[in-house]
Amino acid sequence: MTQAVQLLSAESEAAKILAEVGDGATVAVGGYYDYRHPMALVRTLIASGAKDLTLVAPSGSIDVDILIGAGVVKRLIGGRVAFGLLGLAPNFRRAVENGSLEFLETDTLTLVRGFQAAARDVPFVLTRTLIGSELLRFYPGKVVDVDGEAFLQVLPIRPDVCLVHAQVGDRLGNLRVLSEGFDVEMVKASRLTIASVEEIVSYVESSRGITVPKYSRDAVRAVVEIPYGAHPTSCVPYYVHDIRHLLTYLETVEGGDFNGYLDRFVLQDGGVNHFDYVERAVGMKGLKKLEYLAKRGEEVVTSGAAI
């Protein structure tokens, strides 16, 4: 079933699509570590008032933590939520510790195989993952014996909606992703994908990065141009992650003022405006620093110069 791909130019259009994400839907969120999470779409999803979502996130940081804090997540299927060297994820931690969040904890490879099972439309794929781990107790797939070796039947994961932030996209719904993480498999497994991109081009070509072609069997794929749409996470080679803002987030939440963060950076005047967010959260000078660092990182490696 092919449907027209929507070419959209403003975050308000993304808001219209996201407003249709029904309560209780399964939503997958792309990116990994502190890299390339679809943060503008995440903020829009919070503002849409969706609730009781099942969130699928192999490797989350601020994206998952902010959705949990905002109370839109009922259940999380994920591999890891953390802020790396900056510390543990405060809302995730509290919600699991006080029992308010249901967490199906697994590992990243099992999740990727689950996306593949969905994309291939098969009932399971076999892996060796989770055998011997106590996480197996909570995983719904069966363990089978093949000549004395145990394999896990990894069940398909089919998100209703997938949110990703890619470097480049086009009007046909093709995307190009660099620094992949788990996004490509996730997009292929999902019924609907909404991609924000740094740039919309006339036609995506396979240059640097992995192309995610739009296949005819895919459901709707919407592409929205939202520059800096991954901030405060990264989108190389455009900009690096904003460690200062991530620390501001952590310290605000740990200090008990998550709602203050939401009011200031997510729900401005009852709605969400991406460019207002960017101005408040980082500003032109800060953005330019993040952009230059991404460029300089490339130059240093290319030139091989000593530091």
């Binding site: 990994y32 570590y33 890299y35 490797s59 591999g79 890891r80 939520v81 953390a82 790396g84 060297l85 900056l86 994820a89 931690r93 699991v96 510790e97 904890e105 697994t106 590992d107 990243t108 099992t110 990727v112 892996t127 060796r128 993952t129 989770l130 055998i131 011997g132 781990s133 106590e134 996480l135 363990v143 014996d145 004395g148 070796e149 145990a150 394999f151 660099l178 620094s179 992949e180 993480g181 788990f182 490509v184 498999e185 992995i210 990264s234 190389v236 080679p237 690096v240 460690i243 200062r244 620390l247 620093k289 230059y292 660092l293 991404a294 990182g297 490339e298 490696v301 000593a306 530091i307």
Partner: protein, 307 residues
């Protein structure tokens, strides 16, 4: 693969070095030429040891500084906080996360140093919870790669710990996120895992291994600043100790020159030894230094400002 116990004291051994530098040298010595080394989230010591091996005795090793970025690298780069992703994505070979996982599932050359919160006497790893699983005292990041790698057939799981203590080395982990030798003996084989299992653990005090028959943790070598007695006093269970225990060789002058001058000029190797408060403070200083150096044309850590 060179093992610490097989090494002779090296000519040109340095007299002054940090524990972090010693651990990098020691972890690098475990890598063989042609190995494929994965590094995960927030693990500077893992990346630096792989880069050091690449510079010295493992020139054809392949390093994945951010395993799931999808990029294989055969050349190191200077480690930074801001630009590690941008640098990883420059001049490497872009693969698919999916293909990297295929290889990891079947290759005997793939290797990853993990740093879980708890490790028990059979090398079982916990990075899920402290306390009860359903109502934990501390909810940790989660299964991530740990729950994957413990179960693989040939993948070489090694571990490291910057704080050899009874909190980390516990008789039984609170939760088995990633399986080691389970309950020892042939218990791993009995649940259908005929191969795999952890190989070695480098800590700030020494090097631990595993007894092939019983699966129990053994003491392999002590660092020059430590002793068998100190290691036993900081381990929460009885280690198997051979009659004579080797001393880990000090890093060489050449290794220190590479670590300090080329691979880690800003000193990220010390971050894993700090608590969260101290580490965040240091991270702010480091990103200021990185911005000054890369954007301001100021003096680098190892080089005076030119002109």
């Amino acid at each position: 693969m060179a093992q610490p116990s097989e090494m002779l004291p090296r000519a040109g051994a340095a007299s002054a070095y940090s524990v972090g530098e010693l651990m990098i040298s020691c972890m690098a010595s475990q890598l063989g030429d042609g190995d494929v080394v994965h590094a995960g989230y927030a693990t500077p010591l893992a990346v630096l040891s792989a880069f050091l091996a690449l510079e010295l005795h493992a020139p054809t090793a392949v390093v994945l500084p951010i395993s799931v970025s999808g990029v294989r690298r055969t050349k190191p780069f200077p480690l930074t906080l801001s630009m590690v992703e941008a640098m990883t994505m420059t001049g490497g070979l872009i693969d698919r996360t999916n293909d990297i996982y295929d290889h990891a599932e079947s290759s005997e050359f793939d290797y990853e140093p993990l740093s879980p919160a708890q490790i028990d006497m059979f090398g079982n790893m916990n990075n899920s919870v402290i306390g009860d699983y359903q109502r934990p005292k501390v909810r940790l990041p989660g299964g991530g790669g740990i729950a994957t790698l413990g179960s693989l057939k040939t993948y070489r799981v090694s571990m490291y710990s910057t704080k050899h203590s009874k909190r980390t080395f516990v008789e039984a982990v609170d939760f088995i996120t990633g399986v080691g030798y389970l309950k020892g003996g042939d218990s791993r084989r009995q649940i259908g895992l005929p191969g795999g299992g952890p190989t070695r653990i480098v800590t700030d005090l020494g090097v631990l291994g595993f007894d092939e028959e019983s699966g129990r943790m053994t003491l392999e070598a002590v660092h020059p600043h430590s002793s068998r007695e100190e290691i036993e006093a900081h381990t929460g269970f009885e280690l198997l100790v051979p009659d004579s225990v080797d001393t880990v060789p000090a890093p060489t002058v050449e290794e220190l020159r590479l670590i300090r001058g080329k691979l880690d000029p800003f000193g990220l190797r010390e971050l894993e030894f700090m608590d969260t408060v101290e580490r965040r403070k240091r991270i702010i200083e480091l990103i200021e230094q990185e911005e000054e150096y890369f954007l301001g044309g100021r003096a680098g850590p190892n080089r005076p400002a030119s002109g």
